[in-house]
Symmetry: C7
Subunit: 100 residues, 7 copies
């Protein structure tokens, strides 16, 4: 990401950088089949997390943070490109699990 | 915008001026692909923000303000023209992230 | 409107008189394209506003009032004619912004 | 309606007698176009109103009462005939405005 | 219904016995047209009523009781036969009005 | 069911054993027509009931219990086989009435 | 699962390892027909469970835990592969019953 620029997701959204297939195998032992389709969840790393969502007047914080390796559903994401790299903006709801 | 006229979005809505593609590259380093379709989020600048939305009797203020550079989803926006320029009126929910 | 008759919108509804295209340009500087379709928002003036909507036992008042110039979405409106003139009855939710 | 019979709408429902077109013009000055289709609101008179709807344990009373002249949306109504005359049973939500 | 058997509707449901067309006219003066289709409400008598529905930890009792003559919408009903006779099980929500 | 195995439905679900048509007639006098289709409710016996559903932090217990004869809607059920016999797992919401 | 890696489901999700058909018969006596289709529930073992879901500011814990044998609906699951083995990530809502 450009040095002087920062992306701050709104509410309960997170900015996620998908992990490339070769990294998936070696780093974590998890293999999500290469036949990637819309319905398959994918692996990524949280690059930035929003402050949380206000529910009944109280801020409900996110349970993921920057640096977390996550498995996320590709349903309902928004895709952006920053300096040629692809990122996803998704709601915390779309994150299925954290890999630790 | 005309000098003597002011547009005040209602509730949790914001008035956003889309940023033209040439400005996207130089200003912020973010490139959202030129193949703009309905599903792709877009960049813009908040020109006016509503007072917020009343939830259970309490006013829930917006987390974006005039001047914020934002990435917004194009789902569910309303488009208006002011003096020939195009603007979007959208709910804060459609704003994915702030660029700072 | 006939002298001896008054229309009182129910709940969070407002009665809006659309502004004719010629008035749009001169009065406010806003031009909403003439190619008016269902999806385009339109300009109008609030002629009457309901008392508000009861939410969890409390009356939530409207934030627009009689005389307000507004931009409204044409989604979900009801159309009536009074003495040959056309009016819209819509929920406050359909009002996008106030022009001041 | 038959003398010895009374219809009591349940909850937030009202029993409405539509006003015939000729009466619409002379009585109130409102003309709802004769090209009546499903989407057009219609005029009528409240013949009976339910006690209201229980929301979170509290009874939320109706804001219309017997004798009110109303404009109502024809979406989601139920139609019955009493002694050959046509009546509508609709939720208060379908009443757009009161004519006074 | 068989002597030794009792049907107790659950929650906010009621067991209703439809009134045959000939009874409709003579008993109550109400005529629901013979062209009975899915969308037309029908007349019946409440044979058994459930205890009510629990809302936010409180039991919200039904406003109809055994013996009530009712007009009900045929949307979303379940139909059963007891000793050859037809009955409907429906939610109180489907009861439009009580005839008294 | 196998002796050493027990099935405990989760939340507001119940495990129901459908009653075969011949038993329906003799036992209870209720005849649900043999033309069984998806829309017809069916008779069964509750074999196991879940602990209930947590609503706003409070456990809302079920109103049916093991041994109850019930009429249930076949909408939204899950079907399993235990030792060759067919059972339904359904939410209490799908139970229309108890036969006592 | 790889030794140095742990998958922690988010919120009210669980990680489930489906039980192979041969194990189904011998272990528990339950036979879910081999004609497995989308609509049929399946058997599995909870491998990891999320902390629960925040509802109105309170954490609502899960009622299943690691090691539980469960019957789950295959509606709305996400499928991942870990070291060649197939796992499901699903919401607790999709778990129909626990086998004990």
């Amino acid at each position: 990401m450009a040095k002087k620029m920062k992306i701050i997701p709104l509410g309960d959204r997170v900015l996620v950088k998908p992990i490339s297939p070769e990294n998936k195998k070696t780093k974590s032992g998890i293999i999500i089949p290469d036949t990637i389709d819309k319905e398959r969840p994918e692996q990524g790393e949280v690059v930035a997390a929003g402050p949380g969502k206000e529910v009944s007047g109280k801020l409900q914080k996110l349970s993921v943070k920057k640096g977390d390796k996550v498995i996320f559903s590709k349903y309902g994401y928004d895709e952006i490109k920053i300096d040629g790299e692809e990122f996803f903006i998704l709601k915390e709801e779309s994150i299925l699990a954290v890999i630790s």
